[in-house]
Amino acid sequence: MSSSNGYYVPHETKWPFLNTVALIVLFIGLANYMNGYTSGMSIMFTGLALVLIITYGWFSEVVRESESGTYNAQVDISFRWGMVWFIFSEVMFFAAFFGALYYARELSLPWLGGAGSKVSTNIVLWPQFENVWPSNGPTNAGGDFTLMKASGIPAINTLILLTSGLTVTWAHHGLKEQNRNKLIYGLALTVLLGFIFVGFQAYEYMHAYSDLNLKMTSGIYGSTFYMLTGFHGFHVTLGAIMLTVILFRCTKGHFSGDNHFGFEAVAWYWHFVDVVWLGLFVFVYWL
């Protein structure tokens, strides 16, 4: 429904309601699974499938509306603000885990090692504990492990993500110049690099588990390592899927030089996961 003077109000739709139902099925399944009920897994995957189907339906409708020129310039700005603040919320989510990493390295581990005013904890509980990073804590949680080195796969992955940031910008220029080939090749390259990154990350995890004995349960190092890189990897996967969708839309001839919010939103998101990776590379792998 669009009113005559340019204000745009979308028509009613059931997608938000349906998506909520799907989400709640997913979460109830997950909670049951965590509590150790075998039914949890199947409920969870039913929920996940529903979420995926509904998200597909919801986005398809929005894409159709967008392509039929329903949205005006004001709606475009609303979408942009929405995406900007959504990315900001994601930044704050990662900030919580980075905060945990800094706290462990700068405060809790030195204290456990007997530094500062907390010396009695060390004397009474774990007098033998010395604080050396990486650490799995005073009880050697998860057993001895080897540190994940920054050189090797993480360095290559840094290069891959940085390059993909360039290729997506290159594609963006192609879109603005109405150069479809440049757009599609640039985007396809970005998607490829994104999935290579995810593949390397998966390989790194297998290597860590089988060769380095570095696990989720390897104390605070394992906790921060897997939660930070894991959530990042999940976001890269999502980003790569979003880029793939945009790639398909581009091959179908969607977007124009001056109207391509969908493309830009995904590109912003991609730069965001790129920047988070730089933080990870420096603070988790390198220092």
Partner: protein, 453 residues
């Protein structure tokens, strides 16, 4: 049950009430037809009942509901029964709902204002919501991170909050309160906006110091990110930390004082009348200030060592949240009810409701100051006999307070049945675009952008 009480009142009552007010009021206050992203809004709304059903369902579980306090401190929260993942995942959903709602509020305010309405011409309620939305987007994801770590600690063997693995239970408190302190301002800033709207209307004067009000709100919001550890003075922090958080906390009294001063100055020499919304707003100023002062007492580290985890703290935050946030919501309902329904509520009953509520609220929470100072601990079901009398008084007050709200419900229904329609501008001192619309406003209120000069 105290855990559930807190979670329900925070995430299920005060926050949705404020977001609801935002959704209703923002478009008609800034001259827009609707919020900027209505579908996002719809999604944010539907999550609430489902997430709450999920959370409340834990009360019927064999192991009972969550019992680690709404703050969910480990190690206690890691030892709960089957309810734990349900509560945590439902908080994830509520957080998602809040973030979506906040994104929508910001997009609406930044993008949907009527032509000519510059930021510094916005109604003050809109300003407070803009800042609240920022706080929501910045703090809710941090909570999501913290409770995700709780889940992985319990179910997947991480040791964020376990000292033997190199983590620290206190780490959770830091992350939680980094969210928690902005959260309490999320619960109060919109209330400031409401009171700053109602006081000028019934004093028939412009709000005193509009600019300073905006700056005060913004500085409260920014300060809220660097005061979190005042919730955990007794946990054993380094001295430098205690001092830093004590001084930053006391600093908050400055912008808050500016606000109270401005409200009083607005009334100064105004032609005041005392309809129900005004009464609630006035009680807000007085009683919120009581809560603010006890907050200042708690801010002092040496004093806090005595007050920490006593009923004094319970008295403090109930004074800022009940006669603070809840009174503001009630005031807003009385103030805008004629606009929403097109009918005027019964003024006599409204005043009765006000007096009953105000008397009982003080009867409930004021004695808690005394028992708290005398050393009655919170979150412990049993207490020493010498506290029995004051507790009995508080119980009478609580029942009275609860029952008086039934009168409120009656007033709301009674309003709908009134025959007389309310005028478009039913308060003669009221200002703002919403009063230029008919009562009730048309569907998608402004189909043409009003001009602001």
């Amino acid at each position: 049950m105290t855990t559930m009480h807190a979670l329900v009142m925070i995430f299920g009552a005060v926050m949705p009430a404020f977001v609801g007010l935002a959704n209703w009021q923002l478009p008609i206050m800034i001259g827009a037809p609707d919020m900027a992203l209505p579908r996002l809004n719809n999604w944010s709304f539907w999550i609430l009942p489902f997430a709450f059903t999920m959370m409340l369902s834990t009360l019927f579980m064999e192991s009972g509901g969550p019992a680690a306090g709404w703050t969910l401190y480990p190690p206690l929260s890691l030892q709960g029964g089957d309810s734990m993942p349900f509560v945590i995942l439902s908080i994830h959903l509520l957080g998602l709902s809040s973030i979506l709602g906040a994104i929508n509020v910001i997009a609406t305010i930044l993008n949907m204002r009527a032509p000519g309405m510059t930021l510094m011409k916005m109604p003050i309620f809109v300003w407070t919501w803009l800042i609240t939305a920022f706080l929501l987007i910045a703090s809710m994801p941090v909570l999501a991170g913290a409770i995700t770590m709780l889940l992985t600690d319990r179910f997947f063997g991480t040791t964020f909050f376990t000292a033997s693995g190199g983590g620290d239970p206190v780490l959770f408190q830091h992350i939680f309160w980094f969210f928690g302190h902005p959260e309490v301002y999320i619960l109060i800033l919109p209330a400031f906006g409401i009171v700053s709207t109602i006081i000028p209307a019934f004093s028939r004067k412009k709000l005193f110091g509009y600019d300073s009000m905006v700056y005060a709100t913004a500085s409260i919001a920014l300060l809220s990110f660097i005061v979190w550890a005042h919730h955990m003075f007794t946990v054993g922090m380094p001295l430098a930390g205690e001092l830093f958080f004590m001084f930053t906390t006391m600093l908050i009294a400055v912008p808050t004082g500016v606000k109270v001063f401005n409200w009083v100055a607005t009334m100064w020499k105004g032609s005041m009348t005392f309809e129900t919304p005004m009464l609630f707003a006035l009680a807000f100023i007085v009683l919120f200030t009581v809560g603010g002062f006890s907050g200042l007492m708690l801010a002092m580290v040496p004093a806090d060592f005595q007050y920490h985890d006593t009923y004094f703290v319970v008295a403090h935050f109930h004074y800022v949240l009940v006669p603070g946030a809840v009174f503001a919501i009630i005031a807003a309902v009385y103030y805008w009810l004629p606009k929403w329904t097109g009918k005027m509520y019964n003024e006599g009953l409204g005043k009765l409701h006000f007096w009953l509520t105000t008397i009982f609220v003080n009867l409930t929470f004021f004695p808690m100051h005394f028992v708290g100072l005398a050393g009655m601990p919170r979150r412990i079901p049993d207490y020493a006999v010498q506290f029995a009398d004051f507790n009995a008084i508080a119980s009478v007050g609580a029942f009275g307070f609860g029952l008086s709200q039934l009168l409120f419900v009656y007033i709301l229904f009674n309003t709908l049945k009134q025959k007389v329609t309310a005028e478009d501008k039913c308060w003669d001192g009221a200002e703002g675009l919403e009063w230029t619309l008919s009562s009730p406003p048309p569907y998608h209120s402004f189909d043409k952008a009003p001009k602001i000069d």
